[in-house]
Amino acid sequence: MADVVKVATRDAYGKALVELGEKNDKVIVLDADLAKATKTINFKNAFPDRFFDAGIAESNMMGVAAGLAAVGYTVFASSFAMFAAGRAFEQIRNSIGYTHLNVKIGATHAGISVGEDGASHQCCEDIALMRTIPGMTIINPADDVEARLAVLAAAELDGPVYLRFGRLAVPRVFDESYRFEIGKGNVLREGSDVAIIATGLMVAEALAAAETLAAQGINARVINMATIKPIDKELVIAAAQETGVLVTVEEHSIIGGLGSAVTETVCEACPVPVIRVGVEDKFGASGPAVEMLKIYGLCAENIVEKTKAALALKK
């Protein structure tokens, strides 16, 4: 494991924006005084004429993004997840969602892995908020390879997209051959005893958990679910039918995120037990990111434990 490459998805976001900017002169990037942290600074440096800083005014930034999209631009609007999805929720809902405009919200510093900044900045509610907006696509990439592909795909999609990126450098899961498609999950490891459906930085943890489970004679299927809306119903239902029990894993509240999307899907199509691994119904706290992930039960060993609990529920 020593040679595993670790890159933050926000870094991939910044680079992918430059790549997009080179191909498409209709791409505009907005930020709210966090360009150095969200990595939109890369785009600002490459295309200063197509980068605009809205200052610390996220609500207005979302409206400006909508206006630019209404006159023909593809706009990436960036801030931390807390201030994008949280503070500007209603602007996203009314000016971007209701209008179904071409605004891509690049939300970085999502989840508990923000670390030391603490609860005020650790947004574990953003997926839940964005899922309620009709027509909103939500993508939470697992690593830098997928993050880059997600940015490029989002630019091609007609309508609003919420892209969720992290601050922490995370292990690379995919290689160059990976093909990303919005709305499609992918099976990273075959298994028939249980299916672990993971998203974002938890995908690497889910793979590690599956390794441990295999050593104990449990064959866990691992599914990467980058697109949380629209959820890949076909893949979820197939996993439920073929394994009979599901575990969802996300660095987000267990309320309203991937766990909810999967549960809603199987409850209506083929009910099976679902155990949700995520941030329990509580706020975060300050501490180093890796430690916070441990404290909040977001590590491979937690997934192992919860998967065994899930298997006990299997009929």
Binding site: D49, M61, G63, V64, G67, L68, S95, Y98
Partner: protein
């Protein structure tokens, strides 16, 4: 502005007012007070100022209007119908299931509506985005946005005001409909944003204060706005809420209430009488 042109505009404004009353009466709900107060400005925008083509409502270089105070959609709809964007018959279907005319403007459903609005404070931000896009493309179009005086209590308005000045959006004009009344009472009784002119000036805008029912002053203000380079213009239009219908004038009870049949007939009779008088001028 010559007398003949002014007479035609006053007739159009009268027709816009009748469209407002017709729509709100048939919908049995809506916002007549603030719609009537902005009738002259709306008329001027669609029949004098804005470069728009009802046959090509999505024309790339058209001027744009964002009705930030989206609840006065009846005024916008009346002007759009009069201009020919859709049939006058649609007015009677306002707020009905399946109708193109929603309670608040929808760019997806209504030809001529440039942005969906309704949640106060958001329209001016989207107008800033359109103006910025125009600057970036070197496009000739101008962007107009109409705000309520109560609406400017929203913090987002001042985020947008700061942005527009900082980015030098001189292709943007914001009109504040200063009728002094909001749902819960007068501006003073609720939470006064006054002095409005000094606030916009302090935010870096070119500010012009006018009587919002006087076409000469409206004309002069929009002309001056075009001549102002380097900063956005705010036209503060002093108006009377409910203007043109005697019992609705300066009465906040008519902010969001539809007339009953008797009130509708009285309102229409008053507007008919005004029209007859205008036509003899």
């Amino acid at each position: 502005m010559d007398a003949a042109a002014k007479k035609q505009l006053r007739i159009k404004a009268n027709q816009v007012r009748k469209g407002i009353i017709e729509g709100v009466y048939n919908a049995k709900s809506g916002h007549p007070g603030g719609s009537l107060s902005i009738a002259e400005v709306m008329t001027y925008l669609y029949f004098c100022e804005m470069n728009v083509d009802p046959k090509n409502p999505k024309a790339e270089n058209r001027d744009r209007l964002v009705l930030s105070k989206g609840h006065v959609a009846p005024a916008l709809y009346a002007a759009l119908a009069l201009k020919g964007f859709f049939s006058q018959d649609e007015i009677k279907l306002l707020r009905k299931p399946g109708a193109m005319l929603q309670g608040h403007p929808s760019m997806k459903l209504t030809p001529g509506v440039d942005m969906s609005t309704g949640s106060l404070g958001q329209g001016i931000s989207t107008a800033c985005g359109m103006a910025l896009g125009g600057k970036l493309a070197g496009a000739p179009y101008r962007v107009y946005t109409i705000l309520g005086d109560g609406e400017i209590q929203e913090g987002q308005v001042w985020e947008a005001a700061m942005f527009a000045a900082a980015k030098g959006l001189d292709n943007l004009v914001a009109i504040v409909d200063w009728n002094n009344l909001q749902i819960d009472g007068s501006l003073d009784e609720v939470n006064s944003p006054c002095p409005i002119d000094e606030k916009f000036a302090a935010f870096g805008w070119n500010v012009i204060s006018i009587d919002g029912h006087d076409f000469d002053q409206i004309d002069a203000a929009f002309t001056a706005a075009k001549d102002c380079k380097g900063k956005p213009t705010c036209i503060i239009a002093k108006t009377i809420k409910g203007k043109g219908v005697s019992f609705m004038e300066d009465n906040c009870d008519w902010h969001g209430k539809a007339p009953n049949q008797a009130e509708y007939e009285t309102a229409m009779a008053e507007l008919d009488a005004e029209l007859a008088q205008l036509e003899t001028m």
